[in-house]
Symmetry: none
Subunit: 227 residues, 4 copies
């Protein structure tokens, strides 16, 4: 189980337009079914039935079940990243980027409610594909954060760690308020998240419990170097 390898996949690129169409139908059907029933419980027969092609046709386009799954996950990630990139294109500062990114992610998850089920399954089907999914998002965060740090716009901290912090937040908030609670109170949660991203818990240093709550006393900006 769980072959962690993923060699670039000798994708059978069909030549005829008819083949292209069939292949596309299979991919769409697979996405639907992996989302509905999970990888293990979605059978090839389910997929071909949904795609309205014969069982054997599957193996004309994909060498095995794992391959189509990996392609579905990769596609899903690519689509989401493209959407986010477009959404944040016009943002003026990092906070706006964060907010738009989050909002776009929530929207996507809300429309493609199977997103979570599919991505999470990847961990058990093809670990490389799973890591790749998050790595690619992280890369986007890292470059964006670095730019913002260089611009003195945000605190200078390890950008990759921050990337995983931000992804984790988004992931869990989406799980809780999009997937589980179907968007109720989502805007308020977004505000909370933005406040948190902007200032964290804004806690006073524990080592100075003298009560002097004056803002001035707060950790001086410069101290954050370290990274």
């Amino acid at each position: 189980m769980n072959r962690s390898s993923t060699p670039p996949a000798p994708r059978v690129v069909p030549l005829t337009p008819r083949g292209q169409r069939t292949r596309g139908k299979l991919l769409r059907a697979a996405e639907t079914l992996f989302g509905e029933k999970g990888y293990e419980h979605a059978s090839i027969a389910d997929i071909t039935r949904e795609a309205e092609v014969a069982l054997g046709t599957f193996y004309v386009y994909f060498p095995d079940k794992q391959s189509i799954f990996v392609e579905v996950v990769d596609d899903l990630g690519a689509r989401l990243r493209r959407l986010i990139a477009e959404a944040v294109a016009g943002c003026e500062d990092r906070m706006a980027v964060e907010r738009e990114g989050l909002r776009t992610f929530f929207q996507f998850a809300s429309q493609q409610r199977h997103l979570y089920r599919i991505v999470r399954q990847a961990e058990f089907v093809d670990e490389a594909c799973y890591r790749r999914y998050y790595d690619r998002f992280a890369r986007g965060y890292v470059s964006g954060l670095k730019r913002a740090m260089d611009a003195g716009e945000v605190n200078r901290l390890d950008p990759e760690a921050l990337a995983y912090c931000l992804m984790g937040m988004g992931d869990f908030l989406g799980m809780r308020w999009v997937l589980w609670e179907s968007d109720a109170g989502l805007e308020h949660v977004l505000d909370t998240a933005m406040a948190f991203i902007r200032h964290g818990l804004d806690a006073r240093p524990a080592e100075a419990p003298t009560g002097n709550k004056k803002k001035g006393s707060r950790t001086p900006r410069g101290s954050r170097s370290k990274t």
Copy 2:
């Protein structure tokens, strides 16, 4: 065909000490195997082999595979929560609680490397159990955060949203630096996380790009009310 009356109803609590021991062996074996191979690929036969009992013995104690899985997940969550509770018992302020909590979680995940695989599978095996797992952690966060807010120790924001932010961060950092990278650079990541939790990205308001980086200008403490 005619199935009207009582379901088999396996012994949930064994009556004899011998039974208790066997049941425990099965639970431990199941945890190991669900962690190693995942729910779908760990067979009952695998579990009984690992537990060194006969195949049929499984069904003396559990009605089916799902049941033992749910019990494993609930146990795992309970153990982790107890560990964390003990670890943060002596902490003086919220930041210390966060740091100790995170550290304890990373430690646990590092020792029980199957933690992630098991909990993530829960989503596909028994969704209620999966939600329960996070809900219980969230509840702990919420009560702790409320207390800290009341003490004026941290920013007042929606505590449940914060709970999911903090859990998501911990979860993703652990996945990246404990699970994937085996603890390398973990301390540094912990520091970053703590800095983020304390001050977020510490971003200047976008609407005041005047460049005056003096601390004083930062969002005044009181403003955070909102929630």
Copy 3:
């Protein structure tokens, strides 16, 4: 499957009254469960659960599942035969015996709705027991019919063949109007059956279609139109 032997069964006769009670509970539970779920689907565990004794206790009183089943069937037959014998004891002629016998059988089948299920299963569990069940009834019919024939009360025909005719009729009528239709219209069916038993279809000989009804003496055609 279906061992057709049935050596007199070395019935374990328990000595203590307590044992008697336990054995009786098991027999009653077995009858209930064989009736409800059928022989194959009623497990020993079901039976002991119903009897409120431990699983192992079963094997104190019965060597195996088949044995208790055979005893249940034999008991059931004996009870029914005793009831019928009592019911027809006061009957003055054979027709009255037939009517009372049928009525008693229908009553019993209506109260012990599992009767059919149990007896029919016997064919597949222990054929000897199955045949014995009908043979014993047949013996009663045969001796009664012979007596009636000797008394010139009924037509002289092969009594064993008649016995199976009469049993078959009773069995099928009971199946149709007691088991399937729960006693609705049962009295009317009983009347029809009695008319059939008394005169059959009352058909004219085919070989004399000349219309000359000289036997005319016989029960006039129109007279019994009840239906």
Copy 4:
């Protein structure tokens, strides 16, 4: 766990001639094995072995064991009804129909010695199928009897009740003299049955116990003595 959509839906009607052949082989094998070992003891593996196909092939054509059983029973009933219909086609009167029908049934039961085992099992496998089996025969009886009654050929009684009387007789006689005793004395039994059908027990009314047992009154006793 997540089982929401389409059930597998096996090919009920195979699309290719090859499939037709395989399906037929399975049906024939199933009939043989259900007859030999009974429903519960005939395994799918037994059936596919007999049919000389792989185990999995079974599930290409039937969703489960019960389905093929029901089809076997329905087929068996249809074949028998067709045979009887053909056999009685040329009969001139109702008595001839009864005799030919019985004879044909005995012949069929003698050749297909598994008939009883299969039909009786149906009660436990699929009750609807069991009832259907007898209902369809009953329907034939009913329409035939009605016609004969209208023609003044036989006594007018409730035809459905008569149908079950006649079926029960045939069934039990066949069980006793075809199944258990393998046709010995069958002709004689047929004669007895016909005499019974024609005149029943030919009993004098009980309400006329005047003691005058002289034949003189009703149908002359001696006339039909054959036994």
